[in-house]
Protein backbone atom coordinates (compact mmCIF):
# COMPACT_ATOMS: atom_id res chain seq x y z
CA UNK A 1 0.00 0.00 0.00
CA UNK A 2 2.85 2.37 0.86
CA UNK A 3 4.74 1.56 -2.32
CA UNK A 4 1.60 2.30 -4.31
CA UNK A 5 1.27 5.85 -2.94
CA UNK A 6 3.14 7.57 -5.78
CA UNK A 7 1.50 5.67 -8.68
CA UNK A 8 -1.94 6.06 -7.10
CA UNK A 9 -1.48 9.80 -6.65
CA UNK A 10 -0.19 10.28 -10.18
CA UNK A 11 -3.11 8.24 -11.52
CA UNK A 12 -5.50 10.27 -9.40
CA UNK A 13 -4.01 13.50 -10.76
CA UNK A 14 -4.33 12.39 -14.40
CA UNK A 15 -7.91 11.24 -13.85
CA UNK A 16 -8.67 14.43 -11.93
CA UNK A 17 -7.36 16.67 -14.72
CA UNK A 18 -9.32 14.66 -17.30
CA UNK A 19 -12.54 15.07 -15.32
CA UNK A 20 -11.89 18.69 -14.35
CA UNK A 21 -11.54 19.88 -17.95
CA UNK A 22 -14.89 18.27 -18.85
CA UNK A 23 -16.72 20.22 -16.15
CA UNK A 24 -17.83 23.79 -16.58
CA UNK A 25 -20.38 26.17 -18.03
CA UNK A 26 -19.64 25.28 -21.67
CA UNK A 27 -20.07 21.58 -22.57
CA UNK A 28 -17.21 20.07 -24.55
CA UNK A 29 -17.46 17.25 -27.10
CA UNK A 30 -15.07 14.79 -28.70
CA UNK A 31 -14.90 17.13 -31.70
CA UNK A 32 -13.60 19.89 -29.47
CA UNK A 33 -10.85 17.62 -28.18
CA UNK A 34 -9.87 16.81 -31.75
CA UNK A 35 -9.84 20.53 -32.39
CA UNK A 36 -7.40 21.05 -29.57
CA UNK A 37 -4.95 18.68 -31.20
CA UNK A 38 -5.52 20.22 -34.65
CA UNK A 39 -7.38 17.18 -35.96
CA UNK A 40 -10.86 18.67 -36.09
CA UNK A 41 -10.42 19.88 -39.61
CA UNK A 42 -12.43 23.00 -38.85
CA UNK A 43 -9.45 25.29 -39.40
CA UNK A 44 -9.97 28.74 -37.94
CA UNK A 45 -13.03 27.47 -36.16
CA UNK A 46 -10.79 25.48 -33.84
CA UNK A 47 -9.80 28.65 -32.11
CA UNK A 48 -13.36 29.32 -31.01
CA UNK A 49 -16.09 27.43 -29.16
CA UNK A 50 -15.37 24.29 -27.20
CA UNK A 51 -11.85 23.82 -28.43
CA UNK A 52 -10.98 27.37 -27.42
CA UNK A 53 -12.50 26.86 -23.98
CA UNK A 54 -10.51 23.67 -23.55
CA UNK A 55 -7.16 24.92 -24.79
CA UNK A 56 -7.12 28.47 -23.48
CA UNK A 57 -9.15 28.20 -20.30
CA UNK A 58 -9.74 24.78 -18.82
CA UNK A 59 -6.51 22.90 -19.53
CA UNK A 60 -4.21 25.69 -18.31
CA UNK A 61 -6.44 26.24 -15.31
CA UNK A 62 -6.47 22.56 -14.34
CA UNK A 63 -2.69 22.32 -14.78
CA UNK A 64 -2.18 25.58 -12.92
CA UNK A 65 -4.25 24.42 -9.96
CA UNK A 66 -2.23 21.18 -9.83
CA UNK A 67 1.05 23.13 -9.94
CA UNK A 68 -0.03 25.70 -7.35
CA UNK A 69 -1.28 22.91 -5.10
CA UNK A 70 2.03 21.10 -5.57
CA UNK A 71 4.08 24.15 -4.64
CA UNK A 72 1.93 24.85 -1.58
CA UNK A 73 2.13 21.18 -0.57
CA UNK A 74 5.90 21.20 -0.93
CA UNK A 75 6.23 24.46 0.99
CA UNK A 76 4.04 22.99 3.74
CA UNK A 77 6.05 19.77 3.98
CA UNK A 78 9.32 21.73 4.15
CA UNK A 79 7.97 24.12 6.79
CA UNK A 80 6.66 21.33 9.00
CA UNK A 81 9.94 19.47 8.68
CA UNK A 82 11.97 22.56 9.53
CA UNK A 83 9.96 23.43 12.64
CA UNK A 84 9.46 19.79 13.71
CA UNK A 85 5.90 20.90 14.17
CA UNK A 86 2.90 19.40 12.42
CA UNK A 87 1.01 22.67 12.85
CA UNK A 88 3.45 24.83 10.92
CA UNK A 89 2.61 25.98 7.41
CA UNK A 90 3.83 28.83 5.23
CA UNK A 91 0.87 30.90 6.40
CA UNK A 92 2.14 30.71 9.96
CA UNK A 93 5.48 32.22 8.97
CA UNK A 94 3.70 35.27 7.65
CA UNK A 95 4.63 34.55 4.03
CA UNK A 96 1.05 34.60 2.76
CA UNK A 97 0.09 37.55 4.93
CA UNK A 98 3.17 39.45 3.77
CA UNK A 99 2.22 38.91 0.15
CA UNK A 100 -1.40 39.87 0.69
CA UNK A 101 -0.26 42.90 2.69
CA UNK A 102 1.95 44.14 -0.15
CA UNK A 103 -0.87 43.55 -2.64
CA UNK A 104 -3.34 45.40 -0.43
CA UNK A 105 -0.97 48.35 -0.05
CA UNK A 106 -0.52 48.42 -3.83
CA UNK A 107 -4.26 48.37 -4.46
CA UNK A 108 -5.11 51.05 -1.95
CA UNK A 109 -2.05 53.33 -2.04
CA UNK A 110 -1.17 53.17 -5.76
CA UNK A 111 -4.76 53.96 -6.70
CA UNK A 112 -4.34 57.30 -4.93
CA UNK A 113 -1.12 58.24 -6.72
CA UNK A 114 -1.37 60.44 -9.82
CA UNK A 115 0.72 58.02 -11.90
CA UNK A 116 -0.67 56.30 -14.94
CA UNK A 117 0.70 52.82 -15.53
CA UNK A 118 0.43 51.08 -18.90
CA UNK A 119 -2.22 48.37 -18.94
CA UNK A 120 0.26 45.60 -19.78
CA UNK A 121 2.30 46.53 -16.72
CA UNK A 122 -0.72 46.65 -14.48
CA UNK A 123 -1.31 42.94 -15.03
CA UNK A 124 2.09 42.17 -13.50
CA UNK A 125 2.16 44.92 -10.90
CA UNK A 126 0.08 43.19 -8.22
CA UNK A 127 1.71 39.75 -8.49
CA UNK A 128 5.14 41.39 -8.48
CA UNK A 129 4.24 43.40 -5.39
CA UNK A 130 2.83 40.31 -3.66
CA UNK A 131 5.90 38.26 -4.53
CA UNK A 132 8.11 41.05 -3.21
CA UNK A 133 6.02 41.15 -0.05
CA UNK A 134 6.42 37.42 0.53
CA UNK A 135 10.17 37.55 0.01
CA UNK A 136 10.44 40.69 2.13
CA UNK A 137 8.66 39.09 5.05
CA UNK A 138 10.78 35.97 4.79
CA UNK A 139 14.09 37.77 4.75
CA UNK A 140 13.17 40.18 7.51
CA UNK A 141 11.95 37.15 9.46
CA UNK A 142 15.30 35.48 9.01
CA UNK A 143 17.24 38.65 9.94
CA UNK A 144 15.11 39.45 12.98
CA UNK A 145 15.21 35.87 14.23
CA UNK A 146 18.99 35.72 13.77
CA UNK A 147 19.32 38.94 15.72
CA UNK A 148 16.90 38.26 18.59
CA UNK A 149 17.04 34.48 18.98
CA UNK A 150 20.13 33.24 17.14
CA UNK A 151 20.01 29.57 16.22
CA UNK A 152 16.64 28.89 17.79
CA UNK A 153 14.02 27.33 15.54
CA UNK A 154 11.23 28.01 18.03
CA UNK A 155 12.32 31.65 18.06
CA UNK A 156 12.00 31.76 14.29
CA UNK A 157 8.46 30.43 14.50
CA UNK A 158 7.46 32.97 17.16
CA UNK A 159 9.01 35.80 15.13
CA UNK A 160 6.88 34.60 12.22
CA UNK A 161 3.77 34.79 14.39
CA UNK A 162 4.62 38.38 15.33
CA UNK A 163 5.25 39.42 11.70
CA UNK A 164 2.02 37.69 10.73
CA UNK A 165 0.11 39.84 13.21
CA UNK A 166 1.70 43.03 11.86
CA UNK A 167 0.89 42.07 8.27
CA UNK A 168 -2.69 41.21 9.22
CA UNK A 169 -3.03 44.62 10.88
CA UNK A 170 -1.81 46.40 7.74
CA UNK A 171 -4.29 44.40 5.63
CA UNK A 172 -7.01 45.41 8.08
CA UNK A 173 -6.00 49.06 7.79
CA UNK A 174 -6.08 48.85 3.98
CA UNK A 175 -9.54 47.25 4.12
CA UNK A 176 -10.67 50.11 6.32
CA UNK A 177 -9.31 52.76 3.94
CA UNK A 178 -10.39 51.03 0.70
CA UNK A 179 -13.25 52.06 -1.54
CA UNK A 180 -15.95 49.56 -2.55
CA UNK A 181 -14.21 48.71 -5.80
CA UNK A 182 -10.84 48.25 -4.08
CA UNK A 183 -12.49 46.00 -1.49
CA UNK A 184 -13.64 43.64 -4.23
CA UNK A 185 -10.14 43.32 -5.56
CA UNK A 186 -8.79 42.92 -1.99
CA UNK A 187 -11.08 39.99 -1.32
CA UNK A 188 -9.35 38.13 -4.16
CA UNK A 189 -6.17 38.09 -2.06
CA UNK A 190 -7.76 37.07 1.16
CA UNK A 191 -9.97 34.29 -0.26
CA UNK A 192 -7.90 33.04 -3.16
CA UNK A 193 -8.78 32.27 -6.77
CA UNK A 194 -7.19 30.44 -9.66
CA UNK A 195 -9.06 32.42 -12.31
CA UNK A 196 -5.84 34.10 -13.49
CA UNK A 197 -4.44 30.88 -14.95
CA UNK A 198 -2.79 30.98 -18.38
CA UNK A 199 -0.11 29.06 -20.25
CA UNK A 200 2.68 31.50 -19.42
CA UNK A 201 2.08 31.02 -15.70
CA UNK A 202 1.79 27.25 -16.11
CA UNK A 203 5.18 27.05 -17.81
CA UNK A 204 6.76 29.47 -15.32
CA UNK A 205 5.50 27.57 -12.30
CA UNK A 206 6.42 24.18 -13.78
CA UNK A 207 9.99 25.40 -14.28
CA UNK A 208 10.03 26.83 -10.77
CA UNK A 209 8.85 23.54 -9.28
CA UNK A 210 11.42 21.51 -11.18
CA UNK A 211 14.11 23.93 -10.03
CA UNK A 212 12.86 23.70 -6.44
CA UNK A 213 12.89 19.90 -6.46
CA UNK A 214 16.36 19.91 -7.97
CA UNK A 215 17.50 22.17 -5.10
CA UNK A 216 15.67 20.18 -2.42
CA UNK A 217 16.50 16.58 -3.18
CA UNK A 218 20.19 16.62 -2.13
CA UNK A 219 19.33 17.67 1.43
CA UNK A 220 15.87 16.30 1.95
CA UNK A 221 17.32 13.37 3.91
CA UNK A 222 19.23 15.79 6.14
CA UNK A 223 15.86 17.32 7.02
CA UNK A 224 14.95 14.02 8.68
CA UNK A 225 17.73 14.69 11.17
CA UNK A 226 15.96 17.89 12.23
CA UNK A 227 13.25 15.66 13.72
CA UNK A 228 15.84 14.60 16.31
CA UNK A 229 16.19 18.22 17.43
CA UNK A 230 18.59 20.92 16.26
CA UNK A 231 21.47 19.96 18.55
CA UNK A 232 21.40 16.25 17.68
CA UNK A 233 21.10 17.18 14.01
CA UNK A 234 24.30 19.20 14.36
CA UNK A 235 26.00 16.28 16.12
CA UNK A 236 25.25 13.90 13.28
CA UNK A 237 26.79 16.40 10.89
CA UNK A 238 23.92 18.50 9.55
CA UNK A 239 24.61 22.22 9.20
CA UNK A 240 21.34 23.38 10.72
CA UNK A 241 21.85 27.10 10.04
CA UNK A 242 22.56 26.59 6.36
CA UNK A 243 19.69 24.13 6.01
CA UNK A 244 17.37 26.56 7.75
CA UNK A 245 18.14 29.47 5.46
CA UNK A 246 17.89 27.28 2.34
CA UNK A 247 14.48 26.00 3.41
CA UNK A 248 13.25 29.49 4.20
CA UNK A 249 14.28 30.89 0.83
CA UNK A 250 12.63 28.00 -0.96
CA UNK A 251 9.41 28.28 1.06
CA UNK A 252 9.32 32.02 0.40
CA UNK A 253 9.71 31.55 -3.34
CA UNK A 254 7.16 28.72 -3.60
CA UNK A 255 4.53 30.20 -1.31
CA UNK A 256 5.23 33.72 -2.58
CA UNK A 257 4.65 32.71 -6.18
CA UNK A 258 1.36 30.99 -5.45
CA UNK A 259 0.05 33.78 -3.24
CA UNK A 260 1.11 36.34 -5.82
CA UNK A 261 -1.15 34.87 -8.51
CA UNK A 262 -3.81 33.05 -6.55
CA UNK A 263 -4.21 34.87 -3.26
CA UNK A 264 -4.23 33.14 0.07
CA UNK A 265 -5.27 29.50 -0.29
CA UNK A 266 -5.44 28.01 3.17
CA UNK A 267 -5.18 24.49 4.55
CA UNK A 268 -3.55 22.75 1.55
CA UNK A 269 -0.04 23.37 2.88
CA UNK A 270 -1.13 22.09 6.28
CA UNK A 271 -3.13 19.06 5.31
CA UNK A 272 -1.29 17.58 2.33
CA UNK A 273 1.83 16.63 4.36
CA UNK A 274 -0.41 15.29 7.13
CA UNK A 275 -2.28 12.97 4.78
CA UNK A 276 0.99 11.77 3.28
CA UNK A 277 2.54 11.12 6.69
CA UNK A 278 -0.45 9.05 7.79
CA UNK A 279 -0.20 7.10 4.55
CA UNK A 280 3.52 6.39 4.11
CA UNK A 281 5.19 7.45 7.38
CA UNK A 282 7.29 10.47 8.25
CA UNK A 283 10.40 10.01 6.08
CA UNK A 284 10.92 13.41 4.46
CA UNK A 285 12.34 11.77 1.34
CA UNK A 286 8.82 10.51 0.69
CA UNK A 287 6.81 13.21 2.42
CA UNK A 288 8.13 16.08 0.30
CA UNK A 289 7.50 14.66 -3.20
CA UNK A 290 4.24 12.96 -2.23
CA UNK A 291 3.02 16.17 -0.58
CA UNK A 292 3.49 17.86 -3.94
CA UNK A 293 1.27 15.27 -5.64
CA UNK A 294 -1.25 15.31 -2.80
CA UNK A 295 -1.40 19.13 -2.70
CA UNK A 296 -1.92 19.21 -6.46
CA UNK A 297 -4.77 16.71 -6.26
CA UNK A 298 -6.46 18.48 -3.35
CA UNK A 299 -6.34 21.90 -4.98
CA UNK A 300 -7.54 20.50 -8.30
CA UNK A 301 -10.60 18.99 -6.59
CA UNK A 302 -11.27 22.16 -4.59
CA UNK A 303 -10.94 24.40 -7.65
CA UNK A 304 -13.16 22.20 -9.80
CA UNK A 305 -15.83 22.32 -7.11
CA UNK A 306 -15.34 26.07 -6.71
CA UNK A 307 -16.01 26.80 -10.38
CA UNK A 308 -18.77 24.23 -11.03
CA UNK A 309 -21.06 24.30 -7.98
CA UNK A 310 -22.61 27.69 -8.73
CA UNK A 311 -22.30 28.00 -12.54
CA UNK A 312 -21.94 30.63 -13.97
CA UNK A 313 -20.68 32.26 -10.79
CA UNK A 314 -17.41 31.18 -9.20
CA UNK A 315 -16.90 30.70 -5.49
CA UNK A 316 -13.46 31.65 -4.11
CA UNK A 317 -11.38 28.48 -3.89
CA UNK A 318 -10.09 29.35 -0.42
CA UNK A 319 -13.60 28.70 0.89
CA UNK A 320 -13.58 25.17 -0.52
CA UNK A 321 -10.09 24.30 0.68
CA UNK A 322 -11.11 25.30 4.20
CA UNK A 323 -14.46 23.47 3.91
CA UNK A 324 -12.72 20.29 2.74
CA UNK A 325 -9.66 20.73 4.93
CA UNK A 326 -11.26 21.45 8.29
CA UNK A 327 -13.23 18.20 8.73
CA UNK A 328 -10.40 16.23 7.13
CA UNK A 329 -8.01 17.66 9.69
CA UNK A 330 -10.34 16.74 12.55
CA UNK A 331 -10.46 13.14 11.30
CA UNK A 332 -6.65 13.04 11.21
CA UNK A 333 -6.50 14.39 14.76
CA UNK A 334 -8.90 11.69 15.90
CA UNK A 335 -6.65 9.04 14.34
CA UNK A 336 -3.59 10.43 16.11
CA UNK A 337 -5.15 11.01 19.53
CA UNK A 338 -3.40 7.99 21.05
CA UNK A 339 -0.01 9.49 20.25
CA UNK A 340 -0.54 13.05 21.41
CA UNK A 341 0.71 13.90 24.87
Amino acid sequence: MKALAAPLLVGGLLLGVAIAVQCGAVPVTVGDWLGVFGLGGTGADAATGGAYVLWSIRIPRALFSVLVGASIGMAGALTQGLFRNPLADPGLLGVSAGAACAAALTIVVFAGLPVSIPLSWRLWLLPAAAFGGALGVCFSLDCIARWITPGSIAGLLLTGVALNAVAAAVIGLCTYLATDEQLRSLSFWTLGSLAGANWVLVVLLACLLLLAWWRVHPWVHAMNALALGASVAAQVGVDVRQLRSQVIVLVAVLAGFSVAWCGMIGFIGLIAPHLVRVWVGADQRQVVPLSMLMGGLLLLVADTLARTTAIPAEIPVGIFTALLGGPCFLLLLRGARGRMG
Binding site: N224, A227, S231, Q235, V236, G237, R339
Partner: protein, 269 residues
Protein backbone atom coordinates in the same frame (compact mmCIF):
# COMPACT_ATOMS: atom_id res chain seq x y z
CA UNK B 1 53.35 1.16 31.22
CA UNK B 2 54.66 4.68 30.72
CA UNK B 3 55.52 3.89 27.13
CA UNK B 4 51.97 2.78 26.53
CA UNK B 5 50.56 6.02 27.89
CA UNK B 6 52.90 8.06 25.73
CA UNK B 7 51.99 6.05 22.69
CA UNK B 8 48.35 7.01 23.09
CA UNK B 9 47.71 10.18 21.13
CA UNK B 10 45.36 12.85 22.35
CA UNK B 11 41.80 12.82 21.01
CA UNK B 12 40.58 15.97 22.67
CA UNK B 13 42.42 18.80 24.31
CA UNK B 14 40.75 21.64 26.18
CA UNK B 15 43.06 24.62 26.59
CA UNK B 16 41.56 26.96 29.22
CA UNK B 17 38.22 26.76 27.42
CA UNK B 18 35.45 28.71 29.10
CA UNK B 19 31.98 29.91 28.26
CA UNK B 20 29.34 32.23 29.69
CA UNK B 21 25.70 31.22 29.62
CA UNK B 22 23.48 34.02 30.87
CA UNK B 23 24.97 35.31 34.13
CA UNK B 24 26.82 32.06 34.90
CA UNK B 25 30.34 31.44 33.73
CA UNK B 26 31.82 27.98 33.25
CA UNK B 27 35.46 27.07 33.12
CA UNK B 28 38.18 27.66 32.19
CA UNK B 29 38.58 23.93 31.69
CA UNK B 30 41.97 22.44 30.77
CA UNK B 31 42.33 18.72 30.14
CA UNK B 32 43.56 16.04 27.74
CA UNK B 33 41.62 12.99 26.67
CA UNK B 34 43.62 10.13 25.16
CA UNK B 35 42.51 7.52 22.70
CA UNK B 36 40.37 4.81 24.29
CA UNK B 37 40.13 6.50 27.69
CA UNK B 38 37.04 5.99 29.84
CA UNK B 39 36.08 9.05 31.82
CA UNK B 40 33.15 9.71 34.14
CA UNK B 41 32.01 13.25 34.90
CA UNK B 42 30.50 13.67 38.36
CA UNK B 43 29.05 16.65 40.17
CA UNK B 44 25.93 18.08 41.79
CA UNK B 45 22.98 19.16 39.63
CA UNK B 46 23.56 22.46 37.87
CA UNK B 47 27.32 22.28 38.38
CA UNK B 48 28.06 22.58 34.67
CA UNK B 49 28.56 18.93 33.70
CA UNK B 50 26.36 19.21 30.62
CA UNK B 51 28.01 22.48 29.65
CA UNK B 52 31.43 20.85 29.85
CA UNK B 53 30.13 18.03 27.68
CA UNK B 54 28.72 20.53 25.17
CA UNK B 55 32.12 22.21 24.95
CA UNK B 56 33.71 18.80 24.35
CA UNK B 57 31.11 18.10 21.65
CA UNK B 58 31.83 21.49 20.08
CA UNK B 59 28.14 22.24 20.28
CA UNK B 60 28.98 25.74 21.46
CA UNK B 61 32.12 27.68 20.68
CA UNK B 62 34.20 28.52 23.76
CA UNK B 63 34.23 32.23 24.67
CA UNK B 64 37.81 31.93 25.90
CA UNK B 65 40.56 29.41 25.30
CA UNK B 66 40.81 26.79 22.60
CA UNK B 67 39.64 23.24 21.95
CA UNK B 68 41.59 20.80 19.80
CA UNK B 69 40.12 17.63 18.37
CA UNK B 70 42.44 15.09 16.74
CA UNK B 71 45.10 17.74 16.37
CA UNK B 72 42.94 20.36 14.69
CA UNK B 73 41.18 23.35 16.20
CA UNK B 74 37.51 22.55 16.67
CA UNK B 75 36.47 25.64 14.69
CA UNK B 76 38.35 24.28 11.68
CA UNK B 77 36.29 21.08 11.54
CA UNK B 78 33.37 20.76 9.17
CA UNK B 79 30.29 19.45 10.99
CA UNK B 80 29.99 16.55 8.55
CA UNK B 81 33.62 15.46 9.10
CA UNK B 82 33.36 15.90 12.85
CA UNK B 83 30.30 13.67 12.96
CA UNK B 84 32.38 10.74 11.74
CA UNK B 85 34.59 10.84 14.85
CA UNK B 86 32.44 12.33 17.58
CA UNK B 87 28.99 11.17 18.69
CA UNK B 88 26.83 12.27 21.58
CA UNK B 89 24.01 10.56 23.41
CA UNK B 90 21.76 13.37 24.69
CA UNK B 91 20.04 13.51 28.04
CA UNK B 92 16.53 13.59 26.68
CA UNK B 93 15.44 12.11 23.42
CA UNK B 94 12.48 13.45 21.56
CA UNK B 95 11.84 12.63 17.93
CA UNK B 96 9.20 14.58 16.05
CA UNK B 97 6.66 13.03 13.66
CA UNK B 98 7.11 9.47 14.95
CA UNK B 99 9.86 8.44 12.55
CA UNK B 100 10.55 4.73 12.12
CA UNK B 101 13.18 3.39 14.50
CA UNK B 102 15.47 2.10 11.74
CA UNK B 103 15.37 5.52 10.09
CA UNK B 104 16.31 7.16 13.42
CA UNK B 105 19.29 4.79 13.83
CA UNK B 106 20.33 5.36 10.22
CA UNK B 107 20.25 9.14 10.77
CA UNK B 108 23.47 8.74 12.73
CA UNK B 109 25.09 8.34 9.33
CA UNK B 110 23.16 11.04 7.47
CA UNK B 111 26.29 13.09 6.75
CA UNK B 112 27.81 10.34 4.60
CA UNK B 113 26.80 10.78 0.99
CA UNK B 114 27.57 7.28 -0.26
CA UNK B 115 26.94 4.86 2.55
CA UNK B 116 27.08 1.27 1.41
CA UNK B 117 25.89 -1.36 3.84
CA UNK B 118 23.75 1.11 5.79
CA UNK B 119 21.00 -1.40 6.54
CA UNK B 120 23.52 -3.95 7.86
CA UNK B 121 25.09 -1.35 10.14
CA UNK B 122 21.65 -0.27 11.39
CA UNK B 123 20.74 -3.87 12.17
CA UNK B 124 24.05 -4.63 13.88
CA UNK B 125 23.93 -1.42 15.95
CA UNK B 126 20.37 -2.18 17.04
CA UNK B 127 21.34 -5.69 18.08
CA UNK B 128 24.31 -4.39 20.08
CA UNK B 129 22.06 -1.87 21.85
CA UNK B 130 19.53 -4.61 22.72
CA UNK B 131 17.08 -3.00 20.32
CA UNK B 132 16.98 -5.56 17.53
CA UNK B 133 13.34 -6.37 18.24
CA UNK B 134 12.37 -2.68 18.08
CA UNK B 135 13.21 -2.12 14.41
CA UNK B 136 10.49 -0.95 12.01
CA UNK B 137 8.36 0.53 14.74
CA UNK B 138 7.34 4.14 15.30
CA UNK B 139 9.73 5.86 17.71
CA UNK B 140 6.91 7.65 19.55
CA UNK B 141 5.15 4.39 20.41
CA UNK B 142 8.18 3.13 22.38
CA UNK B 143 8.66 3.33 26.14
CA UNK B 144 11.39 5.50 27.69
CA UNK B 145 13.80 2.60 28.03
CA UNK B 146 13.20 1.46 24.47
CA UNK B 147 13.76 5.00 23.17
CA UNK B 148 17.07 5.19 25.03
CA UNK B 149 18.15 1.93 23.37
CA UNK B 150 17.30 3.31 19.92
CA UNK B 151 19.26 6.50 20.62
CA UNK B 152 22.24 4.43 21.78
CA UNK B 153 21.98 2.37 18.60
CA UNK B 154 22.03 5.62 16.62
CA UNK B 155 25.31 6.58 18.34
CA UNK B 156 26.71 3.11 17.60
CA UNK B 157 25.76 3.44 13.93
CA UNK B 158 27.32 6.90 13.73
CA UNK B 159 30.82 5.72 14.72
CA UNK B 160 30.44 2.11 13.53
CA UNK B 161 33.34 2.14 11.06
CA UNK B 162 35.40 4.88 12.74
CA UNK B 163 38.51 4.32 14.86
CA UNK B 164 39.77 6.27 17.87
CA UNK B 165 36.80 8.61 18.06
CA UNK B 166 34.99 10.19 20.97
CA UNK B 167 31.62 9.24 22.47
CA UNK B 168 29.94 11.68 24.85
CA UNK B 169 27.12 10.39 27.02
CA UNK B 170 24.87 12.74 29.01
CA UNK B 171 23.35 10.52 31.73
CA UNK B 172 20.68 9.00 29.51
CA UNK B 173 20.65 5.81 31.57
CA UNK B 174 19.60 7.38 34.86
CA UNK B 175 15.91 6.67 34.30
CA UNK B 176 16.34 3.02 33.29
CA UNK B 177 16.06 -0.08 35.44
CA UNK B 178 19.38 -1.39 36.84
CA UNK B 179 19.49 -4.48 34.65
CA UNK B 180 19.11 -2.45 31.47
CA UNK B 181 21.63 0.14 32.70
CA UNK B 182 24.28 -2.56 33.06
CA UNK B 183 23.40 -4.18 29.75
CA UNK B 184 23.74 -0.89 27.90
CA UNK B 185 26.93 0.14 29.71
CA UNK B 186 28.43 -3.25 28.86
CA UNK B 187 27.47 -2.83 25.20
CA UNK B 188 28.98 0.65 25.21
CA UNK B 189 32.18 -0.74 26.78
CA UNK B 190 32.54 -3.53 24.25
CA UNK B 191 31.74 -1.21 21.34
CA UNK B 192 34.19 1.50 22.41
CA UNK B 193 36.97 -0.93 23.31
CA UNK B 194 36.76 -2.70 19.94
CA UNK B 195 37.22 0.59 18.10
CA UNK B 196 39.47 2.54 20.43
CA UNK B 197 36.82 5.19 21.05
CA UNK B 198 37.22 7.34 24.14
CA UNK B 199 34.07 7.56 26.28
CA UNK B 200 33.12 10.54 28.44
CA UNK B 201 29.96 9.94 30.45
CA UNK B 202 28.06 12.11 32.90
CA UNK B 203 26.88 9.83 35.68
CA UNK B 204 24.95 10.19 38.92
CA UNK B 205 25.78 6.73 40.21
CA UNK B 206 29.10 6.92 42.10
CA UNK B 207 29.60 3.16 42.02
CA UNK B 208 29.04 2.91 38.28
CA UNK B 209 31.63 5.65 37.84
CA UNK B 210 34.27 4.19 40.14
CA UNK B 211 33.85 0.59 38.96
CA UNK B 212 33.45 1.14 35.25
CA UNK B 213 35.56 4.22 34.45
CA UNK B 214 39.26 4.72 34.81
CA UNK B 215 39.28 8.44 35.36
CA UNK B 216 36.93 10.85 37.12
CA UNK B 217 36.31 14.53 36.39
CA UNK B 218 34.64 16.28 39.31
CA UNK B 219 32.74 19.46 38.44
CA UNK B 220 31.32 21.96 40.91
CA UNK B 221 30.09 25.54 40.49
CA UNK B 222 31.16 25.63 36.87
CA UNK B 223 34.75 24.65 37.68
CA UNK B 224 36.75 21.47 37.26
CA UNK B 225 37.64 20.78 40.94
CA UNK B 226 39.44 17.47 40.47
CA UNK B 227 40.74 15.20 37.71
CA UNK B 228 41.87 11.92 39.20
CA UNK B 229 42.08 8.20 38.52
CA UNK B 230 39.29 6.22 40.10
CA UNK B 231 40.33 4.25 43.17
CA UNK B 232 39.45 4.06 46.84
CA UNK B 233 41.21 7.39 47.37
CA UNK B 234 38.52 9.34 45.54
CA UNK B 235 36.08 9.00 48.45
CA UNK B 236 37.17 12.17 50.28
CA UNK B 237 37.07 14.17 47.04
CA UNK B 238 33.57 12.86 46.36
CA UNK B 239 32.46 13.73 49.91
CA UNK B 240 33.46 17.35 49.46
CA UNK B 241 32.02 17.39 45.94
CA UNK B 242 28.51 16.40 47.01
CA UNK B 243 28.73 17.63 50.61
CA UNK B 244 27.74 14.25 51.99
CA UNK B 245 29.39 11.52 54.02
CA UNK B 246 30.32 8.31 52.21
CA UNK B 247 31.21 4.88 53.54
CA UNK B 248 33.35 2.35 51.68
CA UNK B 249 32.37 -1.28 51.85
CA UNK B 250 34.31 -4.17 50.39
CA UNK B 251 32.13 -7.00 49.12
CA UNK B 252 33.09 -10.68 49.24
CA UNK B 253 34.80 -10.53 45.86
CA UNK B 254 36.98 -7.65 47.02
CA UNK B 255 35.06 -5.10 44.97
CA UNK B 256 34.65 -1.59 46.34
CA UNK B 257 31.14 -0.31 47.07
CA UNK B 258 30.62 3.30 48.08
CA UNK B 259 27.44 3.96 50.04
CA UNK B 260 26.16 7.45 50.85
CA UNK B 261 25.05 8.02 54.43
CA UNK B 262 21.93 10.04 55.14
CA UNK B 263 22.21 12.88 57.61
CA UNK B 264 19.98 11.04 60.08
CA UNK B 265 22.42 8.14 60.03
CA UNK B 266 25.48 10.36 60.27
CA UNK B 267 24.49 12.47 63.24
CA UNK B 268 25.14 9.92 66.04
CA UNK B 269 28.64 9.04 64.79
Amino acid sequence: MLMQTLAHPTVLQLDAAGIRLGTKSFGPFSLHISVGERIAVLGPSGAGKSTLLKLMACECQPATGRIWFNGHLFAAWRLADLSRYRAMLPQSSDVAFGLQTDLVIGLGRVARTHDTGLSDIVRASATLAHAGHLLERRFDTLSGGEQARIQLARVFAQLWDAREGLILVDEPLAALDPGLQFDLLDSLDAYAAARGHAVVAILHDINQAVQGFGRLLLVKNGQLVADLPSSAEVVSALESLYGIALRCVCDQQGGLVIAPLRKTVRRPT
